[in-house]
C-alpha cells in the first residue's frame, strides 16, 4: 500500500522506517511545518535525516501530504482533546477522498467517536485505530475478533509511565517526586508528565474501549479519573505489608469509564512492573483473557499501526 504519514514524532518516524519491511511504500511524510512528497516512494532515511538536521522533513507545505497520492493515511500527530484537531480534520479529509485512515492519535477516537465512525459510511475508505490503545498489545483487534457485544469489560494497566513510577515507589520505598525525577532522567516520563500521572492518557484509552463496547457515547468528560500524583509512599508500604500493591488501573464497561489507583495482589496478573502494560478482557463466553506487553514506544506503536494497515481491504 501507499502510505501518507502525518506526524513525525516517535510513532510517525517509526512507521515510516518500518513501512518498507511490511511491503508498503511511503509517498508522503509530514511534520507540523513541512512535508516531503514523492508519488514513486520517498527516500525515508533522507527525510528523517533532514528532520534531524533542520527540524523539517521536507520543503513542501504540510497540507500537501494530505492531497498526495496514497491508499491509507496514517494519522500520528499529537493527541489533542476537545475538538481533537488537527487530527480529526486530517482523518475527514482522507475519508472524503475515499482513502483509508489508520490512527495512532487518540483524540478523534476518544473525543469524537460517533462523528469519526460516521465518515466511512459515505466513503470507500475504512478507519482503524488499534495503535491508540495499549501500544504493541493487540487490544482492539482482540475485542473486534471476539465481537464487542460478547465483551463485558476491559480493564488494565495502560500507562507505562505511571506504572514505572508506582513500581519504583513500591520496590525502593521512594517518594513520588523522587521517582518521577528519575523517570524523567531515564526518558520514561516527559518533561510535563501530567498527562500520564494524572490518569488522562489511561482514561483516553478506556474511553476509546468504552466507545467500541457501546458503539459510541463516551468522551473524556464522561470518565471518572484519578491520578497518582498525591499518592504517598506510605500507602505503598501499607499495601506491601498485606501482600498487595497499588497500580493505576483503567476500567471500561458499557456503564462507564473509571481510572484510578487500585489495590491489587502483589503477585497478581495486573501487578506488572516497569513500563509494561497489561489488559484484561472479560468475555461473555470465554472467561478472562490477559494480554500484556509494551504499551508505548515508536516501533512498538508503529507495529500496531502497520498491523492495522495490513487489515485494510486492498
Amino acid at each position: 500500500m501507499r502510505l501518507a504519514i502525518v506526524g513525525a514524532g516517535a510513532v510517525g518516524r517509526a512507521v515510516a522506517d518500518l513501512a518498507t519491511s511490511h511491503g508498503h511504500v511511503v509517498t508522503a511524510l509530514a511534520d507540523s511545518t513541512s512535508a516531503a512528497v514523492d508519488p514513486d516512494g520517498l527516500d525515508v532515511s533522507a527525510a528523517l535525516a533532514r528532520k534531524d538536521e533542520t527540524g523539517r522533513v521536507g520543503h513542501d507545505d504540510p497540507e500537501r501530504a494530505l492531497s498526495a497520492d496514497y491508499d491509507a493515511l496514517v494519522e500520528a500527530t499529537p493527541t489533542t482533546l476537545g475538538d481533537a484537531q488537527p487530527g480529526f480534520g486530517h482523518a475527514r479529509t482522507a475519508l472524503e477522498r475515499d482513502r483509508h485512515v489508520v490512527l495512532a492519535n487518540k483524540g478523534p477516537v476518544a473525543e469524537r467517536y460517533e462523528e469519526l465512525m460516521a465518515l466511512p459510511d459515505r466513503s470507500e475508505g475504512d478507519v482503524r485505530f488499534e495503535a491508540t490503545v495499549g501500544g504493541a498489545i493487540p487490544v482492539l483487534s482482540t475485542v473486534e475478533d471476539l465481537g464487542p457485544e460478547r465483551v463485558t469489560a476491559v480493564r488494565g494497566v495502560l500507562n507505562g509511565t505511571a506504572n514505572f513510577v508506582l513500581s519504583r515507589m513500591a520496590a525502593e520505598g521512594l517518594g513520588f517526586e523522587h521517582v518521577l525525577a528519575e523517570a524523567q532522567d531515564l526518558g520514561v516520563a516527559e518533561a510535563d508528565p501530567s498527562f500520564d500521572v494524572e490518569g488522562t492518557d489511561a482514561a483516553l484509552k478506556c474511553v476509546i474501549l468504552a466507545n467500541v463496547l457501546s458503539d459510541g457515547g463516551y468522551t473524556l468528560d464522561d470518565a471518572e479519573v484519578a491520578g497518582i500524583r498525591d499518592l504517598p509512599g506510605s500507602a505503598l508500604d501499607l499495601a506491601a505489608e498485606d501482600g498487595r500493591t497499588v497500580r493505576l488501573v483503567g476500567e471500561a464497561t458499557r456503564e462507564g469509564v473509571r481510572v484510578g489507583p487500585r489495590l491489587v495482589p502483589e503477585n497478581g496478573t495486573l501487578a506488572v512492573t516497569g513500563t509494561r502494560n497489561i489488559v484484561q478482557v472479560e468475555t461473555r463466553d470465554a472467561g478472562r483473557l490477559n494480554v500484556s506487553g509494551r504499551g508505548a514506544g515508536g516501533p512498538e506503536t508503529a507495529s500496531a499501526v502497520l498491523a492495522d494497515v495490513g487489515r485494510l481491504p486492498a
Binding site: 480493564r155 484519578a226 498525591d230 499518592l231 504517598p232 509512599g233 506510605s234 500507602a235 508500604d237 501499607l238 499495601a239 506491601a240 505489608e241 498485606d242 501482600g243 498487595r244 497499588v246 488501573v249 476500567e251 484510578g260 489507583p261 487500585r262 489495590l263 491489587v264 495482589p265 503477585n267 497478581g268 496478573t269 495486573l270 478472562r288
Partner: protein, 179 residues
C-alpha cells in the same frame, strides 16, 4: 438439655497472633470462658503473614447467641480476629486511605464506617512517616455481612470525600481479581 445441645453450631474463627510465648493460650482462654467448645485448633507455625503474625484457625462449637460474646472477648483481649464465622462476616475488603488521615479524626472515620450496614473494621494499620499532622496512610480491613460490602465501601467513600481523603479500593470484591 438435648434441645439446647442440638442448637449449637460450629464456627470457624481465623486469628492472627503475635509470635510470642503464651499468645495461643491467651487466644483460646476467652473461647472456653464464654462457653465455646473447641473442636480443633490449626496453628500454622512457620507460615507467617506479611506482617510477621502467625495465622491460627480455630473451630468452635457454641450456641449462636454466645458466639458474639466469644468474638467480643477475643477482641477485648487484643486478639486480632481476621474472620469470625460464616454468616456474620461473610465478606472482607481491604482499602487504603491517604491524605490527612490522622488529623481529620481517625476514630470518627472508623466509627462511621462501623456504624453502617453491619460492617466491622477488623484490622487497621497506620503509617505516618511525616508525623500525624501531615499526609499519612491507613489500611483498613472491613468485614461485612454478605452483600453489604458495597454499602460499607460507599460509606468509606462518603466519609473520605467529606474529609478530603483518597480511597484506594481493590479492583473487585476480595478474590475477584485472579492471580
Amino acid at each position: 438439655m438435648s434441645e439446647q445441645r442440638s442448637r449449637t453450631e460450629s464456627y470457624t474463627v481465623r486469628l492472627e497472633l503475635e509470635d510470642e510465648p503464651g499468645e495461643l493460650l491467651r487466644a483460646l482462654d476467652p473461647i472456653a470462658d464464654h462457653g465455646g467448645n473447641l473442636l480443633s485448633v490449626f496453628h500454622e507455625r512457620g507460615n507467617l503473614t506479611p506482617r510477621g503474625h502467625i495465622p491460627v484457625e480455630v473451630d468452635v462449637e457454641c450456641h449462636p447467641d454466645r458466639f458474639e460474646d466469644v468474638v467480643a472477648a477475643l477482641r477485648a483481649n487484643d486478639i486480632n480476629v481476621v474472620r469470625a464465622g460464616q454468616q456474620r462476616y461473610g465478606e472482607e475488603v481491604t482499602v487504603l486511605l491517604t491524605g490527612h488521615v490522622v488529623d481529620t479524626d481517625l476514630s470518627d472515620t472508623l466509627d462511621r464506617v462501623r456504624n453502617c450496614a453491619g460492617a466491622s473494621v477488623v484490622d487497621l494499620s497506620l503509617s505516618a512517616p511525616e508525623g500525624t499532622d501531615d499526609v499519612a496512610s491507613a489500611r483498613l480491613r472491613l468485614a461485612a455481612e454478605s452483600g453489604s460490602i458495597a454499602d460499607a465501601l460507599a460509606t468509606v467513600r462518603a466519609v473520605a470525600d467529606e474529609k478530603d481523603l483518597r480511597v484506594i479500593e481493590p479492583l473487585a470484591p476480595e478474590g475477584g481479581e485472579g492471580r
